[in-house]
C-alpha cells in the first residue's frame, strides 16, 4: 500500500472524528447552564479542550489505579474466557448429546443481563478480584464458545476423510486439523469477547463497594462531582482500554491467521 492509498484510507475515519469533535463542541456550547459555575469550567459536558481542566495529581492517580484494576480484571477474564470458551466449543463438537445439553444453558446465560447477576455473584463470592473476573468471564466467553463450535463444524468432509484414511488419532485430528481450521472463527469470537471483557470489568465494578475502585466505580464517584471533566476522562480511558484490547486481539489474529487466511 503506497502513501496516497494510505492517505485515502485514513480520510473517512478522520472525517468522522472531525464530525464527532465538532458535534461535541456544538453540544457543549449549546447546553443551558453548562458554564454557570462562574470559573469557566463546564458543569455538564466539557468541550474537548477543557477535558483535562481540574485533573489534579490525586485524580490522575485514582484514574491510573482504577485503569490497572479494570485492565487486569479484563485481561485475566478474557484469558479464562478463551480457555473455557474453546473447551466448551470442543466438548460440544465432540458430542451432539453434550451440545444439546449445554447449548440452551449457554444461551440462557448469554441473554441474561450481566448487571443482574453481578450483585448475586458479589453476595456469594464476596467483593474479591475473583468475583470481578467471574463477572467478566460470564459476559465474555460465549462468543468464543459459539465461534469455536462453528469453526470446528466447518471443517470440510474431504479433510476429515483424509485424516480418517491416514488413521490420525482424535487428538491429532483436533490439533492438526480442527483447531487450525477453526482459528479464523475463534479469533472473530475473541475480537467480540475482547470488548465484552472490558465491558464486564467496568460494569461489574459498579457493585464492588470495597477495595480499590475500578473504572466503573470511579466514574460513579466522579458523577457526583460538580466538575464533569474527570468523569469524561474516565469514560475516555475506558473506551481506549476497550480499543486496546480489540487491537491486541486483532494484532494476534493478523500474526497467526492473516498470512494464510484470505478474508
Amino acid at each position: 500500500m503506497n502513501l496516497s492509498q494510505r492517505t485515502r484510507k485514513l480520510w473517512p475515519p478522520l472525517a468522522v472524528f472531525g464530525a464527532i469533535v465538532g458535534g461535541w463542541y456544538a453540544l457543549a456550547y449549546s447546553l443551558d447552564n453548562n458554564f454557570a459555575s462562574g470559573d469557566g469550567s463546564a458543569l455538564i459536558i466539557p468541550p474537548p479542550h477543557q477535558l483535562f481542566v481540574g485533573l489534579n495529581e490525586t485524580t490522575v492517580d485514582r484514574i491510573v489505579s482504577a485503569t490497572f484494576i479494570s485492565a487486569s480484571t479484563a485481561l485475566v477474564g478474557l484469558l479464562i474466557s478463551v480457555v473455557i470458551g474453546m473447551l466448551f466449543g470442543i466438548v460440544m463438537n465432540m458430542s451432539r448429546a453434550l451440545e444439546s445439553a449445554l447449548w440452551p444453558w449457554l444461551i440462557g446465560l448469554q441473554v441474561t443481563p450481566i448487571i443482574v447477576l453481578t450483585p448475586i455473584i458479589v453476595r456469594v463470592v464476596g467483593p474479591t478480584f475473583g468475583a470481578r473476573v467471574l463477572v467478566t468471564v460470564l459476559i465474555a466467553f460465549f462468543p468464543i464458545a459459539s465461534n469455536t463450535l462453528f469453526g470446528l463444524r466447518s471443517v470440510s468432509r474431504p479433510l476429515h476423510d483424509l485424516f480418517t484414511l491416514a488413521e490420525f488419532s482424535q487428538r491429532q485430528r483436533l490439533v492438526q486439523l480442527e483447531l487450525p481450521a477453526a482459528s479464523p472463527a475463534i479469533f472473530a469470537g475473541m475480537r467480540v469477547s475482547a470488548g465484552l471483557a472490558v465491558i464486564g470489568a467496568v460494569v461489574g465494578d459498579f457493585f464492588f463497594t470495597r477495595g480499590t475502585p475500578g473504572l466503573g466505580r470511579l466514574i460513579t464517584y466522579f458523577f457526583q462531582d460538580t466538575r464533569s471533566g474527570p468523569m469524561f476522562v474516565t469514560a475516555l480511558v475506558a473506551a481506549f482500554l476497550g480499543l486496546g484490547f480489540f487491537i491486541a486481539v486483532e494484532s494476534l489474529r493478523r500474526l497467526i491467521v492473516s498470512p494464510w487466511h484470505q478474508t
Binding site: 476423510d161 492438526q176 487450525p180 481450521a181 498470512p259
Partner: protein, 246 residues
C-alpha cells in the same frame, strides 16, 4: 451386464482391490446394486456414469470410509490414497508441509515436488496457488505416502481443458514411476480413455455396472492420441453405452 472387450484381456493379475456384489443404500434409497470389479497391480480403472449414480459412494466404500450394506470390499494393502474432487489442502500449511503431511519419506516428497513443478512454490500458502497447482499438490500429497492403491474422485473436474490435459500427462508419468493401482471416477469419457486401462460404465441410481471396456492404447500415451480417429471411436462406444443406460 454388457461387456465389450476391445482388446484381448491380459492374464489374470494380482488384484489390489476386489469388490464383490457390493450394494449400498441410504435409508430406503438404494444407491449401489450388485457391483463387482477388480483393480490389478499397476492398473488404472476409470468409472464413468451419470450424475447421482453412486460413483462417489462406490469410491468411499472402496476406501473404507463407508461400510457397504451388501457385498464385500477387499483391499490387499492398507496403504490407500484418496484424491478428492476438491484439493482438500490444509490452508494453514505451506506447500511443502502439505506435500509431506502423509509421507514418511522426505526424499520422495522432494522428488514429487520437483516432478510436479511445485518445488519452486514450496514456501507458498495454498491460496497463492492456481486451481491446477492445488490439484497437483493434492496428487503429490497422496502419492508421497507411496500408496499401493489410489482412489480418485473426479480429480480434474474443476480445471480448464489445457490444465486438465497437462495434469493427465503428469498423472500418467507419476503412475509409470510409482506403479500404483488406481480407481478413478470421472464424468469425462475422453479423460477415462486417455488415462485408464479399463473403463467401467455405471447406470443411473441404483448404480450398477452396465459396461466394461478395455482401452486398446499402449502406454505411454501422448496428447496426439486424443485427436486420433481410434480414440474418438472408443470414446463413442463408451458414450453410446452410457447414454443407453442413463
Amino acid at each position: 451386464m454388457a461387456v465389450s472387450a476391445l482388446t484381448a484381456a491380459r492374464p489374470a493379475p494380482h488384484h489390489q482391490l476386489q469388490v464383490e456384489h457390493l450394494g449400498h443404500h441410504f435409508d430406503a434409497n438404494a444407491v449401489l446394486s450388485d457391483i463387482s470389479l477388480n483393480v490389478a497391480d499397476n492398473e488404472i480403472v476409470a468409472i464413468v456414469g451419470p450424475s447421482g449414480c453412486g460413483k462417489t459412494t462406490l469410491l468411499r466404500t472402496c476406501a473404507g470410509l463407508l461400510q457397504p450394506t451388501a457385498g464385500v470390499v477387499r483391499r490387499i494393502d492398507h496403504s490407500v490414497g484418496f484424491v478428492f474432487q476438491e484439493p482438500a489442502l490444509l490452508a494453514w500449511r505451506r506447500v511443502a508441509h502439505n506435500a509431506a503431511l502423509l509421507s514418511a519419506s522426505e526424499t520422495l516428497v522432494e522428488r514429487l515436488l520437483v516432478i510436479s513443478g511445485l518445488s519452486e512454490h514450496r514456501n507458498k500458502w495454498p491460496y497463492q496457488l492456481s486451481g491446477g497447482m492445488k490439484m497437483r499438490l493434492s496428487l503429490v500429497r497422496t502419492l508421497a505416502a507411496a500408496p499401493s492403491l489410489v482412489l480418485l474422485d473426479e480429480p480434474f473436474g474443476a480445471l480448464d481443458q489445457i490444465t486438465r490435459h497437462r495434469l493427465h500427462d503428469e498423472f500418467a508419468r507419476l503412475h509409470t514411476e510409482q506403479g500404483f493401482a488406481a480407481l478413478m471416477v470421472t464424468h469425462a469419457i475422453d479423460e477415462a480413455v486417455y488415462l485408464a486401462d479399463r473403463v467401467v460404465v455405471m447406470s443411473h441410481a441404483p448404480g450398477r455396472i452396465v459396461g466394461e471396456f478395455a482401452v486398446p492404447f499402449a502406454r505411454t500415451r501422448t496428447n496426439s492420441l486424443r485427436y486420433s480417429s481410434e480414440f474418438g471411436e472408443v470414446c463413442g462406444l463408451i458414450a453410446q453405452c452410457l447414454e443407453a443406460y442413463a
